[in-house]
Protein backbone atom coordinates (compact mmCIF):
# COMPACT_ATOMS: atom_id res chain seq x y z
CA UNK A 1 0.00 0.00 0.00
CA UNK A 2 2.99 2.28 0.41
CA UNK A 3 4.90 1.76 -2.84
CA UNK A 4 4.65 5.47 -3.69
CA UNK A 5 6.65 6.38 -0.61
CA UNK A 6 9.84 5.03 -2.17
CA UNK A 7 9.67 7.76 -4.78
CA UNK A 8 9.19 10.40 -2.13
CA UNK A 9 12.19 9.15 -0.20
CA UNK A 10 14.38 9.05 -3.31
CA UNK A 11 13.46 12.66 -3.94
CA UNK A 12 14.55 13.64 -0.47
CA UNK A 13 17.89 11.87 -0.83
CA UNK A 14 18.64 13.27 -4.27
CA UNK A 15 17.78 16.79 -3.18
CA UNK A 16 20.98 18.73 -2.53
CA UNK A 17 19.51 20.21 0.64
CA UNK A 18 20.32 19.01 4.11
CA UNK A 19 17.32 18.20 6.27
CA UNK A 20 17.77 21.32 8.37
CA UNK A 21 18.49 23.94 5.71
CA UNK A 22 15.98 25.72 3.57
CA UNK A 23 16.42 25.32 -0.20
CA UNK A 24 17.35 28.58 -1.95
CA UNK A 25 15.16 27.71 -4.92
CA UNK A 26 12.19 27.44 -2.57
CA UNK A 27 12.98 30.81 -1.00
CA UNK A 28 12.70 32.55 -4.37
CA UNK A 29 9.23 31.16 -4.94
CA UNK A 30 7.76 32.09 -1.56
CA UNK A 31 6.12 35.37 -0.56
CA UNK A 32 4.30 36.61 2.51
CA UNK A 33 0.92 34.79 2.64
CA UNK A 34 -0.88 37.99 3.65
CA UNK A 35 0.75 40.78 1.64
CA UNK A 36 2.31 38.64 -1.16
CA UNK A 37 5.50 40.67 -0.77
CA UNK A 38 9.05 39.33 -0.76
CA UNK A 39 10.25 37.61 2.41
CA UNK A 40 13.66 38.30 3.90
CA UNK A 41 15.60 35.23 4.97
CA UNK A 42 16.99 35.58 8.49
CA UNK A 43 19.47 32.70 8.50
CA UNK A 44 20.64 33.15 12.10
CA UNK A 45 17.12 32.94 13.52
CA UNK A 46 15.79 30.60 10.84
CA UNK A 47 12.91 32.92 10.07
CA UNK A 48 11.30 34.40 6.99
CA UNK A 49 10.47 38.02 7.64
CA UNK A 50 7.64 39.98 6.05
CA UNK A 51 8.43 43.66 6.65
CA UNK A 52 5.09 44.74 5.27
CA UNK A 53 3.03 42.44 7.50
CA UNK A 54 5.46 42.94 10.43
CA UNK A 55 5.63 39.16 10.87
CA UNK A 56 8.45 36.64 11.15
CA UNK A 57 7.55 33.12 10.05
CA UNK A 58 9.52 30.21 11.53
CA UNK A 59 11.53 27.69 9.51
CA UNK A 60 11.52 24.33 11.25
CA UNK A 61 13.84 21.57 9.99
CA UNK A 62 14.14 23.33 6.66
CA UNK A 63 10.37 23.70 6.22
CA UNK A 64 8.93 27.23 6.30
CA UNK A 65 5.73 27.56 8.32
CA UNK A 66 3.89 30.38 6.57
CA UNK A 67 0.80 30.40 8.77
CA UNK A 68 -0.11 33.75 10.35
CA UNK A 69 -0.97 31.90 13.58
CA UNK A 70 2.59 30.58 13.90
CA UNK A 71 4.34 33.85 13.08
CA UNK A 72 6.07 36.12 15.56
CA UNK A 73 5.07 39.76 15.46
CA UNK A 74 8.12 41.91 14.72
CA UNK A 75 7.26 44.32 17.51
CA UNK A 76 7.31 41.54 20.09
CA UNK A 77 10.53 40.60 21.84
CA UNK A 78 12.00 37.36 20.60
CA UNK A 79 11.75 34.50 23.04
CA UNK A 80 15.20 33.14 23.72
Amino acid sequence: MNEGDENANDEAIESPVSAERIDRRLLELLVCPITKTTLEYDEANQELVSRKARLAFPIRRGVPHLLPGEARHLDDKRQS
Binding site: M1, N2, G4, D5, N7, A8, N9, E11, A12, S15, V17, D23, R25, L26, E28, L29, L30, V31, C32, P33, I34, K36, R60, G62, V63, P64, H65, L66, L67, P68, G69, E70
Partner: protein, 302 residues
Protein backbone atom coordinates in the same frame (compact mmCIF):
# COMPACT_ATOMS: atom_id res chain seq x y z
CA UNK B 1 -21.33 38.41 11.33
CA UNK B 2 -17.58 38.46 11.05
CA UNK B 3 -15.78 36.42 8.41
CA UNK B 4 -14.81 33.98 11.12
CA UNK B 5 -18.43 33.50 12.23
CA UNK B 6 -19.53 32.93 8.64
CA UNK B 7 -16.82 30.33 8.10
CA UNK B 8 -18.11 26.79 7.63
CA UNK B 9 -14.85 25.02 8.39
CA UNK B 10 -12.72 25.38 11.47
CA UNK B 11 -9.34 25.60 9.71
CA UNK B 12 -7.35 25.38 12.93
CA UNK B 13 -9.24 22.18 13.72
CA UNK B 14 -8.53 20.89 10.21
CA UNK B 15 -4.84 21.54 10.84
CA UNK B 16 -4.88 19.79 14.22
CA UNK B 17 -6.79 16.82 12.79
CA UNK B 18 -4.34 16.48 9.91
CA UNK B 19 -1.50 16.56 12.42
CA UNK B 20 -3.05 14.12 14.87
CA UNK B 21 -3.84 11.53 12.21
CA UNK B 22 -0.67 12.00 10.18
CA UNK B 23 0.66 8.51 10.88
CA UNK B 24 -2.65 6.87 10.02
CA UNK B 25 -2.91 9.05 6.92
CA UNK B 26 0.29 7.61 5.52
CA UNK B 27 -1.55 4.26 5.52
CA UNK B 28 -5.02 5.39 4.38
CA UNK B 29 -4.13 6.43 0.90
CA UNK B 30 -6.37 4.47 -1.48
CA UNK B 31 -8.61 7.44 -2.30
CA UNK B 32 -5.71 9.91 -2.44
CA UNK B 33 -3.89 7.45 -4.72
CA UNK B 34 -6.94 7.20 -6.94
CA UNK B 35 -7.08 11.00 -7.17
CA UNK B 36 -3.31 11.29 -7.70
CA UNK B 37 -3.38 8.68 -10.50
CA UNK B 38 -6.23 10.49 -12.18
CA UNK B 39 -4.43 13.85 -12.11
CA UNK B 40 -1.19 12.24 -13.32
CA UNK B 41 -3.10 10.62 -16.22
CA UNK B 42 -4.54 13.99 -17.21
CA UNK B 43 -1.11 15.65 -17.06
CA UNK B 44 0.40 12.90 -19.20
CA UNK B 45 -1.87 14.08 -22.03
CA UNK B 46 -0.51 17.63 -21.86
CA UNK B 47 2.36 17.86 -24.31
CA UNK B 48 4.60 20.29 -22.54
CA UNK B 49 7.24 20.14 -19.84
CA UNK B 50 6.48 21.61 -16.41
CA UNK B 51 9.45 23.19 -14.71
CA UNK B 52 7.97 24.37 -11.41
CA UNK B 53 4.88 22.82 -9.81
CA UNK B 54 2.94 23.20 -6.59
CA UNK B 55 1.00 20.36 -4.94
CA UNK B 56 -1.55 22.03 -2.69
CA UNK B 57 -2.82 20.05 0.28
CA UNK B 58 -0.13 17.51 -0.52
CA UNK B 59 -0.75 15.34 2.55
CA UNK B 60 1.62 12.36 2.56
CA UNK B 61 2.89 13.36 -0.88
CA UNK B 62 1.25 10.80 -3.15
CA UNK B 63 0.73 13.31 -5.95
CA UNK B 64 4.04 15.15 -5.43
CA UNK B 65 5.88 11.85 -5.91
CA UNK B 66 4.07 11.23 -9.19
CA UNK B 67 4.94 14.70 -10.46
CA UNK B 68 8.61 14.13 -9.66
CA UNK B 69 8.42 10.75 -11.43
CA UNK B 70 6.92 12.46 -14.50
CA UNK B 71 9.98 14.67 -14.75
CA UNK B 72 8.66 17.93 -13.30
CA UNK B 73 11.79 19.90 -12.44
CA UNK B 74 10.83 21.36 -9.09
CA UNK B 75 7.89 20.14 -7.00
CA UNK B 76 6.78 22.05 -3.93
CA UNK B 77 4.49 20.22 -1.52
CA UNK B 78 2.24 22.44 0.57
CA UNK B 79 -0.03 21.42 3.44
CA UNK B 80 -1.61 22.87 6.58
CA UNK B 81 0.21 20.29 8.66
CA UNK B 82 3.97 19.66 8.63
CA UNK B 83 3.40 16.26 10.23
CA UNK B 84 0.96 15.23 7.49
CA UNK B 85 3.61 16.07 4.91
CA UNK B 86 6.46 14.32 6.69
CA UNK B 87 6.54 11.35 4.27
CA UNK B 88 6.46 13.70 1.27
CA UNK B 89 10.15 14.63 1.26
CA UNK B 90 11.42 17.14 -1.26
CA UNK B 91 10.59 20.82 -1.02
CA UNK B 92 7.87 21.52 1.50
CA UNK B 93 6.04 24.53 2.87
CA UNK B 94 3.42 24.70 5.59
CA UNK B 95 0.63 27.05 4.56
CA UNK B 96 -3.11 27.59 4.39
CA UNK B 97 -4.71 27.05 0.98
CA UNK B 98 -6.67 30.22 1.68
CA UNK B 99 -3.47 32.27 2.17
CA UNK B 100 -1.17 31.05 -0.56
CA UNK B 101 2.46 32.14 0.03
CA UNK B 102 3.51 31.61 -3.60
CA UNK B 103 5.10 34.34 -5.71
CA UNK B 104 2.58 35.54 -8.32
CA UNK B 105 3.34 34.32 -11.84
CA UNK B 106 5.89 31.73 -10.71
CA UNK B 107 4.25 28.32 -11.28
CA UNK B 108 3.94 26.28 -14.47
CA UNK B 109 1.53 23.90 -12.78
CA UNK B 110 -0.62 23.82 -9.65
CA UNK B 111 -2.27 20.55 -8.66
CA UNK B 112 -4.30 19.47 -5.66
CA UNK B 113 -5.73 16.05 -4.85
CA UNK B 114 -8.82 16.07 -2.62
CA UNK B 115 -7.90 18.96 -0.32
CA UNK B 116 -9.84 22.02 -1.41
CA UNK B 117 -13.24 20.73 -0.24
CA UNK B 118 -12.26 21.89 3.24
CA UNK B 119 -11.53 25.55 2.53
CA UNK B 120 -14.02 28.24 3.52
CA UNK B 121 -13.23 30.58 0.66
CA UNK B 122 -12.90 28.42 -2.44
CA UNK B 123 -13.25 31.35 -4.89
CA UNK B 124 -10.45 33.11 -3.02
CA UNK B 125 -8.28 29.99 -3.10
CA UNK B 126 -8.83 29.55 -6.86
CA UNK B 127 -8.02 33.20 -7.55
CA UNK B 128 -4.79 32.86 -5.58
CA UNK B 129 -3.91 29.73 -7.55
CA UNK B 130 -4.53 31.56 -10.83
CA UNK B 131 -2.30 34.41 -9.71
CA UNK B 132 0.46 32.00 -8.67
CA UNK B 133 0.51 30.57 -12.21
CA UNK B 134 2.64 31.88 -15.05
CA UNK B 135 0.63 33.02 -18.08
CA UNK B 136 -0.55 29.83 -19.81
CA UNK B 137 0.16 27.86 -16.62
CA UNK B 138 -2.12 24.92 -15.83
CA UNK B 139 -4.25 24.11 -12.80
CA UNK B 140 -5.66 20.61 -12.21
CA UNK B 141 -7.36 20.23 -8.84
CA UNK B 142 -9.74 17.56 -7.61
CA UNK B 143 -12.07 17.95 -4.69
CA UNK B 144 -14.95 16.05 -3.18
CA UNK B 145 -18.27 16.98 -4.77
CA UNK B 146 -21.93 17.11 -3.75
CA UNK B 147 -22.83 13.40 -3.72
CA UNK B 148 -19.95 12.50 -1.45
CA UNK B 149 -20.92 10.52 1.65
CA UNK B 150 -24.64 11.00 1.11
CA UNK B 151 -25.19 7.63 2.77
CA UNK B 152 -23.33 8.61 5.94
CA UNK B 153 -25.07 11.97 6.07
CA UNK B 154 -28.47 10.25 5.87
CA UNK B 155 -27.63 7.54 8.41
CA UNK B 156 -26.35 10.08 10.94
CA UNK B 157 -29.35 12.39 10.58
CA UNK B 158 -31.80 9.49 10.98
CA UNK B 159 -29.92 8.01 13.94
CA UNK B 160 -29.41 11.29 15.74
CA UNK B 161 -33.03 12.32 15.27
CA UNK B 162 -34.23 8.99 16.64
CA UNK B 163 -31.93 8.93 19.65
CA UNK B 164 -31.68 12.58 20.64
CA UNK B 165 -34.65 14.26 18.95
CA UNK B 166 -32.44 16.57 16.87
CA UNK B 167 -29.70 16.49 14.30
CA UNK B 168 -26.46 18.41 14.07
CA UNK B 169 -24.17 18.86 11.10
CA UNK B 170 -21.70 16.01 11.07
CA UNK B 171 -20.88 15.63 7.39
CA UNK B 172 -19.47 18.64 5.58
CA UNK B 173 -21.36 20.18 2.67
CA UNK B 174 -19.74 19.55 -0.72
CA UNK B 175 -20.14 21.78 -3.75
CA UNK B 176 -22.00 20.62 -6.83
CA UNK B 177 -20.03 20.03 -10.06
CA UNK B 178 -22.06 22.64 -11.96
CA UNK B 179 -21.46 25.29 -9.31
CA UNK B 180 -17.77 24.46 -9.37
CA UNK B 181 -17.66 24.82 -13.15
CA UNK B 182 -19.22 28.25 -12.93
CA UNK B 183 -16.84 29.19 -10.16
CA UNK B 184 -13.90 28.23 -12.35
CA UNK B 185 -15.12 30.63 -15.02
CA UNK B 186 -15.82 33.43 -12.55
CA UNK B 187 -12.33 33.17 -11.07
CA UNK B 188 -10.75 33.99 -14.43
CA UNK B 189 -9.43 30.67 -15.73
CA UNK B 190 -9.21 30.17 -19.48
CA UNK B 191 -10.53 26.99 -21.13
CA UNK B 192 -12.22 25.87 -17.89
CA UNK B 193 -13.46 22.31 -17.53
CA UNK B 194 -15.20 20.68 -14.57
CA UNK B 195 -16.02 17.00 -14.62
CA UNK B 196 -17.09 14.47 -12.04
CA UNK B 197 -16.28 10.85 -11.31
CA UNK B 198 -18.14 8.77 -8.74
CA UNK B 199 -16.18 6.21 -6.74
CA UNK B 200 -18.11 3.67 -4.67
CA UNK B 201 -16.13 2.04 -1.91
CA UNK B 202 -17.22 -1.07 -0.01
CA UNK B 203 -16.77 -1.14 3.74
CA UNK B 204 -17.47 -3.79 6.35
CA UNK B 205 -19.47 -1.17 8.25
CA UNK B 206 -19.97 2.54 8.76
CA UNK B 207 -17.45 2.32 11.60
CA UNK B 208 -14.72 1.24 9.22
CA UNK B 209 -15.69 4.09 6.89
CA UNK B 210 -15.46 6.65 9.72
CA UNK B 211 -12.05 5.30 10.71
CA UNK B 212 -10.87 5.81 7.13
CA UNK B 213 -12.28 9.34 7.03
CA UNK B 214 -10.31 10.23 10.15
CA UNK B 215 -7.28 8.60 8.58
CA UNK B 216 -7.56 10.87 5.58
CA UNK B 217 -7.69 13.89 7.90
CA UNK B 218 -11.35 14.39 7.17
CA UNK B 219 -12.99 13.97 10.57
CA UNK B 220 -15.81 16.49 11.05
CA UNK B 221 -14.21 19.91 10.43
CA UNK B 222 -17.35 21.99 10.84
CA UNK B 223 -17.43 25.06 13.05
CA UNK B 224 -21.07 24.32 13.90
CA UNK B 225 -20.37 20.79 15.04
CA UNK B 226 -21.75 19.85 18.43
CA UNK B 227 -19.41 20.42 21.29
CA UNK B 228 -19.98 16.91 22.59
CA UNK B 229 -18.88 13.72 20.96
CA UNK B 230 -21.60 11.62 19.39
CA UNK B 231 -23.51 9.52 21.90
CA UNK B 232 -22.74 5.84 21.83
CA UNK B 233 -26.38 4.90 21.12
CA UNK B 234 -26.49 7.41 18.26
CA UNK B 235 -23.40 5.94 16.71
CA UNK B 236 -24.72 2.41 17.17
CA UNK B 237 -28.03 3.33 15.52
CA UNK B 238 -26.23 5.12 12.66
CA UNK B 239 -24.25 1.97 11.94
CA UNK B 240 -27.52 -0.02 11.86
CA UNK B 241 -29.31 2.49 9.62
CA UNK B 242 -26.34 2.54 7.29
CA UNK B 243 -26.33 -1.25 7.05
CA UNK B 244 -30.11 -1.40 6.50
CA UNK B 245 -30.18 1.18 3.73
CA UNK B 246 -26.89 0.88 1.91
CA UNK B 247 -25.92 -2.79 2.01
CA UNK B 248 -24.50 -4.41 -1.13
CA UNK B 249 -25.04 -7.97 -2.30
CA UNK B 250 -21.66 -9.01 -0.86
CA UNK B 251 -22.67 -7.92 2.65
CA UNK B 252 -20.55 -4.79 2.64
CA UNK B 253 -21.96 -1.26 2.72
CA UNK B 254 -21.37 1.33 0.04
CA UNK B 255 -19.79 4.74 0.57
CA UNK B 256 -19.95 7.18 -2.32
CA UNK B 257 -17.17 9.63 -3.08
CA UNK B 258 -17.74 12.09 -5.90
CA UNK B 259 -14.45 13.43 -7.19
CA UNK B 260 -14.84 16.69 -9.11
CA UNK B 261 -11.83 17.71 -11.17
CA UNK B 262 -11.35 21.34 -12.15
CA UNK B 263 -8.98 22.17 -15.00
CA UNK B 264 -8.13 25.67 -16.16
CA UNK B 265 -5.30 27.72 -17.58
CA UNK B 266 -3.99 31.10 -16.56
CA UNK B 267 -5.01 33.36 -19.46
CA UNK B 268 -2.53 33.93 -22.29
CA UNK B 269 -2.87 35.49 -25.74
CA UNK B 270 -1.93 32.26 -27.50
CA UNK B 271 -5.05 30.48 -26.21
CA UNK B 272 -8.10 29.89 -28.36
CA UNK B 273 -11.01 32.08 -27.34
CA UNK B 274 -14.46 32.86 -28.70
CA UNK B 275 -14.79 35.90 -30.98
CA UNK B 276 -16.58 38.93 -29.62
CA UNK B 277 -20.32 39.00 -30.47
CA UNK B 278 -20.87 41.10 -33.59
CA UNK B 279 -17.32 40.59 -34.85
CA UNK B 280 -18.30 38.16 -37.64
CA UNK B 281 -17.02 39.03 -41.13
CA UNK B 282 -19.31 36.67 -43.08
CA UNK B 283 -23.05 36.18 -42.97
CA UNK B 284 -24.39 32.82 -41.84
CA UNK B 285 -27.13 33.09 -44.48
CA UNK B 286 -24.48 33.33 -47.23
CA UNK B 287 -22.65 30.30 -45.91
CA UNK B 288 -25.88 28.32 -45.92
CA UNK B 289 -26.94 29.63 -49.36
CA UNK B 290 -30.27 30.88 -48.03
CA UNK B 291 -31.95 34.18 -47.28
CA UNK B 292 -31.98 35.75 -43.86
CA UNK B 293 -35.37 35.82 -42.13
CA UNK B 294 -35.97 38.58 -39.62
CA UNK B 295 -37.41 37.17 -36.40
CA UNK B 296 -40.20 39.03 -34.64
CA UNK B 297 -39.03 41.15 -31.69
CA UNK B 298 -38.82 39.09 -28.54
CA UNK B 299 -40.80 40.28 -25.57
CA UNK B 300 -38.67 41.81 -22.81
CA UNK B 301 -37.25 39.26 -20.48
CA UNK B 302 -38.92 39.44 -17.12
Amino acid sequence: MSAEERAIFDRELVRRRRTRHARQAAETTFLLDHAADDIADRLALVKRPFEVALDLGAGPGRLSARLAAMGVGLVISADLSAEMMAPAGGLRVVCDEELLPIRPGSMDLVVSGLALQQVNDLPGALIQIRRALKPDGLMVVSLLGGRTLFELREALVVAETETTGGASPRVAPFADVRELGQLLQRTGFALPVADSDVVEVGYRSALELMRDLRGMGWANPLRERRAHAMRRDTLQRAVEVYAERFARADGRVTATFEIVTLTGWAPHDSQQKPLRPGSATARLADALGTTETQLPEKPERG
